[in-house]
């Protein structure tokens, strides 16, 4: 029969075709999973076969429109900190060419030149940074962690949020004004008028705070943050004041600072005299407010030498009373030295240097004895707390050399 060869040939051809179909199907890359497979056993599909949702995700997220990108990032579950970082990086990139143009002159500064930009360049860079911050703020609002408002909310949780926002806005506005006064200068190169402007700016800012806060809130704010309060805290670190003592000292010190806070530069003779008189009055008022015993504690605690001495005594593992003993020697010697200076009789004047030198030698002997003859400790004291001793011998009058 001839049918068998034909049937056989067709069957073998079908074998080849079907095997080819199967082979092609299994080799086809990235083929979409068949619906049946998806419906029948979705969980059984091998993990490697799933498309990776992160591949080229960036091209789907970014489109040049940052607001749309923000919405997509939010929808994809990016947390606020990540969102802020991603958008800030792109905004920064948008400003990069302008920044580079401004910084071009600084880029090739050789190592022996100062790389600090001139005042105009600094102003341009500040303006650019502000524009950048605004772009980010327009997209995401204020920074919930690293901003004046955020810090105020953390440090003054009892204040209403709208008040902290207003306070932060005031501060930011004044922060923007300050660089115009400073220019490229540092505090020591400011002229008297510029220093007065800075002081006036601080006062104006404080007045604006007063318009936002109640008197009680403002007092609380000042007691925690003002320069006077911070300076007091530093001075009183060994005094352990009560609330009443701190309030009394704060009131007296802030009255003094209002008129005589040292803001740098050289004071005129008249200013020096006025400040010195006010300082004397301040000391008297503090003595009256604290009483004799606590005033003595205050004097000791606010003495820089005593603070240093206490640190040294602690470091040397000596009893804490040692600092008191050293301070007592300091006071005794200083009182006797002042008595020598006050004695203006011709006889005393002629012997002044000798007397002071002898007093300094006595002081050194007593200090060395307190340290048990330990010369290393005595030398360390000269550096930490004993500057009064090293500078005790009168300074000789300078001998200028006009021709130099």
């Amino acid at each position: 029969m001839k049918i068998f060869p034909v049937l056989g040939s067709l069957s073998l051809a079908a074998n080849v075709a079907l095997l080819g179909v199967l082979a092609y199907g299994s080799l086809q890359p990235g083929s979409a999973p068949p619906p049946a497979a998806m419906v029948e056993k979705p969980a059984a599909a091998p993990a490697a076969a799933k498309p990776d949702p992160t591949v080229d995700a960036w091209s789907a997220l970014s489109s040049g429109d940052l607001a749309a990108e923000r919405d997509r990032l939010l929808a994809e579950g990016f947390p606020p900190s990540a969102l802020r970082a991603i958008l800030a990086a792109q905004i920064r990139e948008q400003f990069a060419a302008r920044r580079k143009a401004i910084e071009a002159a600084m880029a090739n500064t050789p190592f022996w030149k100062n790389p600090t930009p001139d005042p105009q360049t600094q102003a341009q860079l500040r303006a650019l940074a502000k524009e950048e911050q605004k772009a980010l703020k327009d997209l995401l609002g204020g920074d919930p962690v690293n901003s004046h408002a955020a810090r105020l909310r953390r440090e003054f949780p009892e204040l209403a949020p709208e008040k902290t926002d207003q306070m932060a806005a005031i501060r930011e506005r004044y922060d923007d004004l300050r660089p115009d006064i400073y220019g490229a200068g540092i505090r020591s190169t400011l002229t008297p008028t510029e220093r007065e402007k800075i002081t006036a700016l601080e006062k104006a800012m404080h007045q604006e705070f007063a318009s936002v806060l109640t008197p009680a809130e403002l007092e609380h704010y000042d007691l925690r943050t003002s320069n006077t309060a911070n300076s007091l805290r530093h001075t009183l670190s060994n005094f352990d004041p009560s609330e009443a003592e701190f309030r009394a000292l704060y009131r007296l010190q802030s009255d003094f600072d209002e008129q005589h806070r040292f803001t740098g530069g050289t004071l005129s003779q008249e200013q020096q005299r006025a400040r010195s008189d006010a300082q004397r009055k301040l000391s008297e008022d503090i003595a009256a407010a604290l009483g004799a015993e606590r005033y003595a504690d205050y004097q000791r605690a606010s003495d820089y030498n005593f603070r240093q001495t206490s640190q040294l005594v602690s470091r040397l593992n000596l009893p804490s009373e040692t600092a008191m003993t050293l301070y007592a020697v300091q006071k005794d010697i200083e009182d006797r030295r002042n008595a020598i200076y006050r004695d203006t009789t011709p006889e005393s004047r002629s012997q002044m240097t000798q007397k002071i030198t002898a007093l300094a030698a006595e002081a050194t002997t007593r200090i060395t004895t307190i340290f048990g003859g330990n010369q290393t400790a005595t030398n360390a004291y000269k550096q930490y707390g004993g500057s009064w001793l090293t500078n005790m011998v009168p300074q000789p009058a300078p001998t200028p050399a006009p021709g130099r």
Binding site: M38, P53, G77, E155, L223, P241, S268, Y384, S387, V393
Partner: protein, 439 residues
Amino acid sequence: MNAPLIAASLLLNAALLAALAARPSLAPAGMQAFLVRHFHPDTPKAPPPAAARRVAAKPPKLWTALHHEDASTLIARLRTAGFPPNVIRALVTAEISARYDAQLRALQDTDPTVPFWKLPASYYMSGDKRLEEMNRLYRERSRALRDVFKDEFFASTDTSAAQRRQFGDLPLSKIDALQRVEDDYNEMIAAVRAEAKGIILPEDREKLALLNREKRADLASVLTPQELEAYELRTSQSANMLRSRLANFEPTEAEFRTLFQAQLALNAKFQGGFDGVDYQTRQQYQNAYHDQLRAQLGDRRYAEYVRETSSDYQQLTRLVQRENLPKETPLLTYDLRNAIAAESNLIFDNAALSVDAKREALKQLAQNARNRILATLGPGAGPEYVRISDQWLTQMERGAAVSFNRGSAFTIVTDQGTMGFSGPSAEYRRLPLAPQPGR
């Protein structure tokens, strides 16, 4: 063709067809719909891809798929997802920084639960534990960031440009090695300082000196002598301080190198700072330092150095700029001041004059000086510069000769940081006190 072969072939066809009918997924994509339609008529139609995402179990959001605690894994995933380097850097920096932020905020913010009279000072003094801890956290964070961004992938960003300014043309491998040396020694130096609690005793100084010697040796093993010198000129604290102080002096490269060496020699003399050194010794060092500078720079450049590093002249320059006065005005005023000072010394040394006559002449000179300054600077800047000069003018009015011959800036870089000693810019010789009326 024999019968068994044909039978086997037919059976194979049947088996292959059955397999395709049962598992359409075995077929190429183009045939699958046909097989499903004919052999699985009850199967619901495949939804379009977008709808498939809704019907299927909700896939994790992209952030969940990308995020990982390990920064290197996170970077790898972001790179696979096609995020650009600057965005990855920003995102990973935010992630790493967040690990330190809470601790840093706890150290920097004032605690609202502590009453105001018990709060610590907001200033950080040497030896303050808060400062030590903050520095430790900053160091740790910097190191973590440097480690994750060391890949060449991030090399074209701004930070790399900053590195170039700091390291010159050194290859990346050397920069990396230098940073590791710096990291290691900064850590050890910080440990010595923390232990010292703000009081550097001789044994601490020895440890710090040893660490600095070891660090230099390690740096020298990475760099050639020329590279090491260039590295110190670019990055050391002394070089940074000098660059800032000499800005208006505009030194040449040779002058900068000279001043740098002089600064290193000065630092070596004051390793413990100024506090343990009495006034006279300090004055001697200061004079010797300035004499050395004069010899090395020459008289003309030394005079310019003194002028350009004086805060008095910097204030004068600011005043002139503010009032839009001619460019040469600061120099004219500065020379005028020096001429008046020289004149005061001539009066003081004039043996032909009695003390009273000298006092009167100095008083006249000072009053005349105020008028000359006002005339030179005009009504805007003049009165303000007279205020700045009030101290020496008042001293002169009271019978003192004044000199401005020496630079006042005297700054050292010690093992406890940079310390400035701004000596008096003016020196005085005073006539004996005038007798008080009625005494």
